[in-house]
């Protein structure tokens, strides 16, 4: 078997560090990790590392120092460069680890010139998490990893936790290197086998936790709300029932016996068929708070997902609006959730489409800790066969100001969560360029108002080590060229103007304009011969626009002020409606679809031109995926254009081929 792709931690990324003399001060397991990293780099590149026993820092290029420092918290650190020496200081070992990785990211720059001010780095968000939708037992329809496009599970194989956890440890290292500190190791749809991880199989979870712990990553577990019945044999799972509460308290105590730094539970309840408190006439706050109470003595957290909607809607019924569901369900409960209960909200009101408005629930529950969930796994964005770097989309979400003032990134007090895009694939993520999504997520979770382009540039420099190639500039420029605009390219050739969901039902890959139009899933476009879009205005539509605070409730209410890219999400307009761009809706559809394919053709050429600068296996994988992306993009273009030409009868202004 070929060795696993090193992703953003190839040996070359450690060259600057490995050639220097480093002093490490501090103790504890994570300091050992730091020492191990430095020692390995030095062994490779000829530098030297020394522990705190030796006196005097003067002889070192880099000092990594754990000592009491105000305001850094467990994970913060300072970085300074004075007198030819770089110094990283942290209050706690985790901070030291992040500081070391900062030095790695800086490369030679870490040791070059003077930096006037001491820089302080702290994560803006305490919990930076990836959720794995991994099944232990391969699901007959969903496979092992639900919505996974990168092979099997990293954690589970042959029906149990992997015996060899070396790769899980390597994964923890990659996560730390982009700033992620928590992992949920199993699917939120908890099936029969996986339910038992909570109880008699907790030892397997503990093994995984042990492999992730050296990199400051805590382990969380998805559990079924019905566990007291399914596992405990109780006649009810009513969250207010004393025996149920006692069962959870006891089960949780056993979990912490096995994993003393266990992070907590993730729960998908009353959602797409999963059990939940509604069955007992209880609220979701009742449900979450019961689990919060069980976790509270140990410092654990329950992540309670807000993805609650009617998935058996009647498409004939235009008054029900799935987009409203989370807000309608949860805002009445604001203030009722315990301090260690986090309400985990998808960033948009529907389901990870290439373009959605920010969920109006975010910002509407000031008395509740919210986590915002994004999807690194590219369920609706090309399934890691298409290049679609999601940094710009996530950044738009995180910098959105629901009330016109505070950004989403700051409102996400309960954390930022990504559904993982990683599996046991050689390149971790199927398409090697999809690694950039995980990396960028981690960096944005650490600092939500950061420029995602900087994270991408870091990822490129770490992963491809351009300075080791004959043409660093061409390589960096080329990678930026294929990645920077790839999300907007994907948007262009798929569903237009925020309308979403024109995908093949079930697996969600490839176009089917009417695929969900007459389904029970609540995801419609209502295209007819005259126009398209969903009227979600307060005046004449479902009223969804009114769920927003000002100014957004006003901006979205009228087609005249609604941003073009969300027009069809909020309004039903005729094909000849003129956008702010000056184009009609129908011409916009045609133009973007032709443009999107042209952009893929161009990106494929750019990638091809990098063959001499990229590892051959990695390049070949990317090249093969570009063929599929181009085929698929053309299919999207032709199906979408044909569909709307057949419906509208409006010819393309430029006379291009529509079938």
């Amino acid at each position: 078997m070929p060795s696993v792709d090193p992703a953003w931690l190839p040996p070359g990324a450690f060259r600057a560090l490995g050639t220097r003399r480093t002093l490490i001060r501090g103790s504890g397991p994570l300091v050992e990790t730091v020492h191990g990293e430095v020692a390995e780099a030095c062994a490779r590149f000829g530098g030297r590392v020394v522990r705190d026993s030796e006196p005097g820092a003067a002889a070192y290029d880099l000092v990594l120092d754990v000592r009491d420092s105000d305001g850094l918290g467990d994970e913060g650190f300072t970085y300074a460069r004075e007198g030819g020496r770089a110094t990283v200081t942290a209050s706690a070992p985790a901070g030291l680890l992040y500081g070391l990785l900062h030095v790695v990211r800086l490369g030679e720059d870490a040791f070059r010139g003077e930096r006037r001010a001491r820089e302080t780095h702290r994560p803006a968000v305490a919990l930076r998490m990836v959720d794995h939708w991994d099944n232990v037992a391969v699901h007959p329809v969903m496979g092992q990893v639900e919505r996974g496009y990168a092979g099997g599970s990293l954690f589970w194989a042959d029906g149990r936790a992997r015996g060899d956890l070396a790769r899980v440890r390597a994964y923890g290292r990659l996560l730390a290197a982009c700033g992620i500190n928590a992992v949920a190791v199993n699917n939120v749809n908890v099936h029969e086998t996986e339910a038992r991880l909570l109880t008699d199989r907790i030892g397997e979870v503990a093994d995984i936790a042990g492999a992730l712990r050296p990199y400051g990553v805590r382990t969380h577990l998805s559990v079924t709300f019905a566990a007291p019945m399914v596992l405990g044999g109780l006649p009810t799972a009513d969250p207010l029932d004393a025996s149920v509460r006692a069962w959870w308290a006891e089960a949780t105590a056993r979990v912490y016996e096995a994993i003393d730094d266990f992070g907590g539970f993730v729960v998908k309840a009353d959602s797409e068929g999963q059990p939940g408190p509604f069955a007992y006439g209880r609220s979701h706050a009742d449900g979450a708070d019961m689990l919060a109470a069980a976790l509270e003595p140990y410092g654990g957290t329950v992540h309670w997902r807000a993805f609650v909607y009617d998935h058996r809607q009647d498409w004939r019924d235009r008054t029900t609006d799935r987009a409203r569901a989370a807000y309608d369900h949860f805002t009445p409960l604001d203030g009722e959730f315990a301090a260690n209960a986090v309400l985990q909200v998808k960033h948009g009101p529907l389901d990870f489409q290439v373009r959605e408005p920010v969920s109006p629930l975010i910002g509407a529950m000031p008395g509740t800790r919210l986590a915002v969930e994004v999807q690194a796994t590219q369920e609706y964005t090309g399934q890691q066969r298409h290049v679609c770097w999601l940094g710009p989309m996530w950044s738009e979400v995180l910098r959105f100001r629901p009330d016109g003032e505070t950004e989403v990134g700051a409102l996400a007090r309960g954390g930022l969560v990504a559904v993982s895009n990683v599996g046991d694939d050689l390149f971790w993520t199927g398409h090697p360029l999809a690694q950039a999504n995980l990396y960028t997520f981690g960096r944005l979770a650490w600092q939500p108002d950061a420029d995602p382009g900087i994270a991408l540039d870091e990822w490129i420099r770490l992963t491809f080590v351009p300075e080791e190639t004959p043409d660093p500039v061409r390589l960096r420029d080329g990678l930026h060229a294929v990645l920077d605009g790839s999300w907007r390219t994907y948007e262009k050739y798929t569903a237009p103007l925020g309308v979403g969901f024109m995908v093949q039902p079930g697996h969600h890959y490839g176009p089917s304009v009417d695929g969900y139009e007459y389904s029970p899933w609540g995801t419609y476009h209502f295209a007819d011969r005259d126009g398209i879009g969903v009227d979600r205005s307060a005046a004449t539509g479902t009223g969804y626009a009114a769920q927003y605070a000002k100014p957004w409730s006003e901006v979205y209410e009228s087609p005249g002020t609604c941003p073009d890219e969300l027009l069809l999400f909020f309004h039903h307009v005729s094909y000849d409606h003129v956008l702010h761009s000056g184009k009609t809706v129908i011409q916009h559809i045609y133009d973007t679809h032709f443009e999107g394919v042209a952009e893929v053709e161009e990106a494929r050429e750019v990638w091809a031109s990098l063959a001499d600068l990229v590892d051959p296996a990695r390049h070949a994988r990317g090249a093969e995926r570009y063929e599929e992306q181009l085929r698929s993009a053309r299919e999207w273009r032709d199906q979408v254009n044909s569909y709307f030409f057949r419906k509208s009868g409006v010819p393309d202004a430029h006379g291009r081929r529509i079938y």
Copy 2:
């Protein structure tokens, strides 16, 4: 476990026979079967049966006699009634069995009054076959029975032939009682496990053959064209290669050692991914003739399916027409097929839609033995959750005169074949009323120009034994009411005017108007805002209409002469095109969809009203399925009507609700 439904051979069906005195003359295994049947009936109802040793027929009500008789063949018989005695005469034991079953069907009428003339009954078609698309190993997508809607396989369970073959024997008895004399026991898509039935697992096939043989049913086997490679380890499956031919000869010899009356092979080659002669630059006649040569010494037959088309078509390409494929592939080979090679042709040019024209291949190959294949399993006709009695459709096909003279039934010199609708379900066919399809197929295969309504009436009388109920007339009338028109009802609420394929992709249940519109399967409707349909005329379309002989090439060529029910199969017309019925196409769509649902509502009520006259379990099963049929029919109505209303913009003339 409740006992299996007796279908059309309940004890009550044997009452008339079982109360009489019967004399049987003849010998051989099938005569033993006849004797066993009569003896069992007599044991139940008090009659008497005597073998030929006793002298004098005068004392008997019924004489069943095997003796040399001209022109009856192996399966024919005469029936006469004179002097208060009924006499069945056959030349061979199989004929005697069919004669006995004729007496059973007649019931008391068999023994009542005089019949002026001796009736002669002979099957018009020698081979009357059901093909089971059963897998031995459950297929991950298709399940155990491909396109099966009646549970698992009757033949195979737990990865091998069932140990207890009592039910297979019962199945053979039911087949004989409707006139079927051949069964193919495995799927035409031959997967890895099933390939081995030909060689090291032939013993299992022999066991099944042994259970069917007592009812005059011969066993056939689907084989893979690649068998010499897959099983024999040869480097090729080229049909002209001497080692390949030798391999087949040897394999076939072994088959006949195990099953001396083996019927032959069924082959799906170069079809939907199955291997075939094209890979070696050989023709389908080369392929079929090679297998025919192997079977010839033993009297076996190869059934070579004509379902060859490009299933990876580009929907953008309007010049390729899947409907043309079978004719284009096979007519050039007419005269090249061996005498014991049968070309098995689906009745329509596409794939068992609720309405298709008769395949132009039928009648176009005078030098080739053709078998016509119909589909009893209701893949596209409600999947045995909907009542859809297919007798009238099959009868239309069989009575169609491709050249204006000879009927299809007479052209099917190679046999009539139905894809089986039977599984290990309690009621054999899922919906108890779906049994009528198998029964009717058998009776039409025996006599293709028969009135299917008579077969249905036989089925009702045998299955429900109305005279044993308090209200025979209400029961018979009720069953006719729900069955007689059910095919046209199904057509009304599904795809209109012969356009076909508006189904959910993959499983084919329920509506999806655009489900196959942008797919590679070659099944399109080309609906746009102005009109719908496929132009298959010679003048302006794909030229398919010209594949027919006169008069049909002329009839189908013009929308003015094309029958309404096939209009959209042959022509693309505007929504306001006026049909022969006087309605516009769009109003026809609306009207038929509302009517179809109303008819299902009515049928459900009729079925409900029969609760006191039908076995409770059977009635409950039907009632439960009617709920689903009605739900589904409404879904069809609303999706199809909404789709075309949105596209055409034409309101319903009667102002009914369209969404």
